[in-house]
Symmetry: C2
Subunit: 635 residues, 2 copies
């Protein structure tokens, strides 16, 4: 499809005008390009960078730039891509191997440290870049490099008895999805088989049965997501790909089961994934901290990639529900509005008086990282975002995400006009259709959406008479060019509470509107911090569009109070009975809500009234450094 305006178009423009063009200079100053020249024998000096996977920063940038070239001619970008593709090609060894860390620092130790070496991970990103480059430009140059490396890997890795010297997997999955893509791009079945081999060999102790490396248990036997979040997600994306290509039901079932386990108990409200800073780990079910949420930007990206594959594999809309939530929140918060600064981790809370240690895992936006995996990953997803919004089959078109633009599949073309997510109205016009045969226009009714109306011609349907099946409103008729349909999704702001097992947010609510999670920022609440604020859930929420604020956002206004905080003295714990003074205004009236079964009590709070201005989470941390909260206490 083509995105032509609106919310995502603006962010993609910044990606195209600022983020991607700045990439080569950043890769130069961080040493990544220097390493390629060194490996090619075209420069002198030492390997630069702290990790064996620094080449992937280049590959992910190349992939982003390649997708961007597919959006339209850009001679200067094309020249940069050409220059860097040549650097990559020059660094490749004669047998196809390519990894500057091993070539320059660990000469002769290929494939001996698969747990940490990232050699296949790097190959994967190279392949992804090459597929994008070939698909959008037709150039064979990078694809030739990638195939040569893939062919080399195919001579090295294989099961015992295969005659290949190494039975092994990479500590960081990525090559698996890449090989499936390479199969799709080239038609070479052995790339698919190699992807299948790598997926299958996880969980058999080749890497010491470590959960971190996705080696504790075979994927088909796993009951929960675990270990390093990005690794787990890339592996599961490959499982979905393989199930799609091979039709294997056991792998599909495993992927469905693990997706459910993840979303039901290990996903932050923002779609962010990964509860632990150390080992970038998923953590336990319902362990979803706020200030120490890890929620790596790359994990959000990997989640989008996996969920999209699940949507294509299963046809179920829930996967695109998660894609939407993740794109708008956990993913997009990773890049600043100006396209120049990044977040590696995406917490749901920054306390008043937060002392930031700096570094990659800072809660403050950073120009670039020592481990710069996230920025070019954001670039490539934004540049290829149009891949994730719609699908099609012989029977018609399925619109998964709403944006201003043109959705096309085969003979079906539908034009959308919308200011979503600020407005809930999406006007669709059929622009091309097969002659005189019925086909189905399927519209995802988002999981967050309580009420909607759809007008087709003179008829209006709502939820009562427009059945939604598995998340889809399927409209089958003889759609003809010029036919119009208007979908109106009710966008009232809402208060959201969590399962009582999510201990971190007990007694709190979050503000949401449409697909957007909202947060409070210190900048909008002068005269105090955020940690003494209590939201009053008995008062209505209001919506205020602010074209002046943060590039133009719709804010949600809520009523709150600044509660009087106790003087803790030297000890902040007290007898529980001491903390419940009589309420101002006397006893609670009969009929007040009560709090059985883990429910959130929606009663008025007491203190100094304060108007709360909530801004969308994806635009937080674009003003001065300050406090932020997604989850707000109500008592």
């Amino acid at each position: 499809m083509e995105i032509t305006g609106g919310f995502w178009h603006a962010r993609r423009e910044t990606n195209a005008r600022v983020s991607i063009p700045q990439g080569p200079a950043l890769l130069e100053s961080a040493g990544n390009l220097h390493n390629l020249r060194l490996a090619a024998g075209a420069a002198e000096g030492e390997f630069r960078g702290a990790y064996p996977f620094v080449d992937t920063d280049v590959y992910k940038w190349l992939e982003a730039a390649a997708w961007q070239l597919g959006q339209g001619a850009d001679p200067s970008l094309a020249a940069e891509v050409g220059r860097i593709v040549s650097l990559v090609a020059g660094a490749q060894q004669d047998d196809g191997y390519l990894n500057t860390w091993f070539q320059l620092v660990k000469g002769g130790e290929r494939y001996q440290d698969l747990r940490w070496g990232h050699e296949l991970y790097c190959a994967g990103h190279l392949i992804q870049a090459a597929v994008a480059h070939h698909r959008t430009t037709g150039s064979e140059e990078l694809l030739t490099v990638a195939r040569k490396f893939a062919d080399h890997i195919d001579t090295v890795f294989g099961s015992p008895g295969s005659g290949r010297p190494v039975d092994g997997i990479d500590g960081h999955p990525e090559v698996e999805t890449a090989l499936v893509e390479l199969y799709r791009e080239t038609g070479e079945r052995r790339y698919l088989d190699l992807a299948g081999y790598f997926v299958d060999r996880h969980g058999h102790g080749l890497l010491g049965h470590e959960a971190y490396c996705q080696d504790r248990v075979p994927l088909r036997e796993a009951t929960d997501v675990e270990g390093h979040a990005v690794r787990q997600l890339y592996l599961l994306a490959a499982a979905a790909d393989l199930a799609t290509e091979t039709g294997e039901t056991e792998l599909r079932s495993a992927a469905e089961r693990l997706w459910h386990a993840m979303t039901a108990a290990k996903t932050h409200l923002t779609g962010g994934l990964g509860a632990h800073h150390d080992w970038e780990d998923f953590g336990d079910p319902y362990e979803l901290p706020n200030e120490r949420a890890y929620c790596e930007t790359c994990a959000a990206i990997a989640s989008v990639q996996w969920s999209w594959r699940m949507a294509l594999l299963t046809g179920s809309a829930r996967y695109s529900d998660l894609v939407e939530r993740t794109l708008y929140n956990g993913f997009l918060a990773g890049v600043s509005l100006d396209g120049e600064r990044w977040l590696y981790v995406n917490p749901l809370q920054v306390r008043d008086g937060h002392t930031d240690p700096g570094g990659d895992q800072s809660a403050r936006r950073t120009r670039w990282f020592r481990c710069a995996c996230c920025p070019p990953n954001v670039m490539r997803l934004l540049a290829s975002l149009d891949h994730y919004l719609a699908s099609g089959d012989a029977d018609g078109l399925q619109i998964h995400q709403y944006t201003e633009g043109t959705y096309t599949h085969g003979p079906f073309t539908v034009r959308a006009e919308t200011d979503y997510p600020w407005q809930g109205t999406i006007a669709l016009t059929v622009e091309a259709a097969p002659d005189d045969r019925p086909w189905t226009l399927s519209l995802r009714i988002p999981q967050w959406c309580r009420e909607f109306r759809v007008r087709v011609g003179e008829r209006t349907y709502d939820r009562a008479d427009a059945p939604v099946e598995d998340g889809w409103l399927r409209l089958a008729r003889v759609w003809r060019p010029g036919d119009r349909l208007v979908l109106e999704l009710a966008l009232e702001p809402r208060l959201t509470a969590a399962d009582p097992r999510v201990d971190a947010v007990r007694g709190c609510v979050a503000i949401e509107r449409g697909p957007l999670v909202y947060c409070l920022e210190g900048a909008d609440h002068p005269g105090g911090g955020l940690d003494d604020i209590v939201l009053d859930p008995t008062r209505p929420l209001a919506v205020r569009h602010r074209p002046d604020l943060l590039g133009g956002v719709t804010t949600v206004i809520a009523a709150g109070v600044r509660r009087p905080l106790p003087d803790p003295g030297w000890w902040p714990y007290r007898a529980a009975a001491d903390t419940a003074p009589a309420a101002p205004g006397g006893p609670v009236a009969p009929g007040s809500p009560t709090t059985p079964g883990g429910a959130v009590e929606l009663t008025a709070a007491h203190g100094d009234p304060v108007e709360l201005t909530a801004v969308p989470y994806p635009v937080w941390a674009n003003r001065e450094d300050g406090a932020m909260r997604v989850w707000l206490p109500v008592s």
Copy 2:
């Protein structure tokens, strides 16, 4: 003083009979003793161990064993100490330097990596061991080694202009307190001066101004504790020592200020310290997670050491309030009841279905650690626990902690009989006193204690007529041998709530009784997990002593319910209004408690009734691996 029976006596017996005697074999198998033999040229092989500070495991064990020898003759332990002291002496270099890692692995790189090298940290523990050895055995052998190393350090380190070649500090404080102790043991003023130099040079960028290394800001200017918890606490213990020895008020004020900041906002209910697993960091104020509490056992020990010094420096009882809480909870949980297994981190929650990654930071008890700092640290504190319980001056005796035993200072001797903390009655008998002059017997009335009575002869006082000043009940009279006093501390179990800024425990209470924090364990609640349990705070708590359980503990019985948990489907977040169904039994009666200002609502919960059995936190994790919770939801 001498501890002769009761709670601590039993744990110290296990320390003496099991933990300390097993030390040499564990140090042998981990390679620590091998390294000393290697450095002495008395063995062949490679350095063993993962850290440059492995020698300290030996030194801390020696210190523990030395204090133990002070409790009474033990020929076999004395022989082991003599053997290992000889190994240490043999490894020392001619100029006094001693660090097996640098001698064996990093030859010639002394004092070049002060940030991570731990050379002075190791020297500090050697000195502490030597002081203990000298004090309890009179032997000069280890003290000579320590002095030789200290003298060497004194020739190397000094301010610019001092003529010493290195102006530097160690990344891990410890040598500072040790040098003060060495000064006290030997009377050599230059050891005190050297300690002062090291304390003063923190915060001036010698280690890149890193908070982790206590180098961000000079101690006298600091407003909050920060960075690596153990490092911060050892440095502050040294500050208290220096303020005691020099009378410097600025350093004393800084120590008082930082202690207040720490206890008011960065201390877990158990006395545990350190909120972050990564970098073992204090974290932000009020950031006190449960399942990811770090609360390193060594940090609890360091906290006891610092607070005890503050108690001696200031005379204020609050410091011993924290010592008591920490000893009974955050510290003692670090060792199993059998004295053979350890916890490095001390979480306040283990979820149902917790997946433990193993390793040093496991929530499961471990026989020994790669970084084995905690076990011998526990051993030395238990073996020297009698140092932390009482103080004295010309005017009398101050009893800080209650235990069965004999408190002595100068002419004052008081014998205590008590089953504290299971019972609140402490019977004190004066056994020795100066002739015919009034002196003051000061009793700490614990901060947790609401009511007490004290009987002296035929008179009984309570809080109304026995004024407590700054935590002390001071009883001045002509105490004579044979005089008796009975203190009764009311030990009703209680529910405790936290400052509303402690987000992690919103809507929760903890059960406490006396100095003990209680927790639920899965083992006492068959037929379900812990994460669906809600405590009913409207029902009374009961006490049940269980001689059969966990070595004999008093349990607290509470009423709770198992709440029906929602089926989360694939998404655990819901519209807040959806989560508040009408309460069974109709609307809330007028006069029900309400929840203004962050208070905890004490209303009945709904679900299947369940009797909750809470056990003392220090004995958790002594049965099968399972779930545990200190903080219990009430709604």
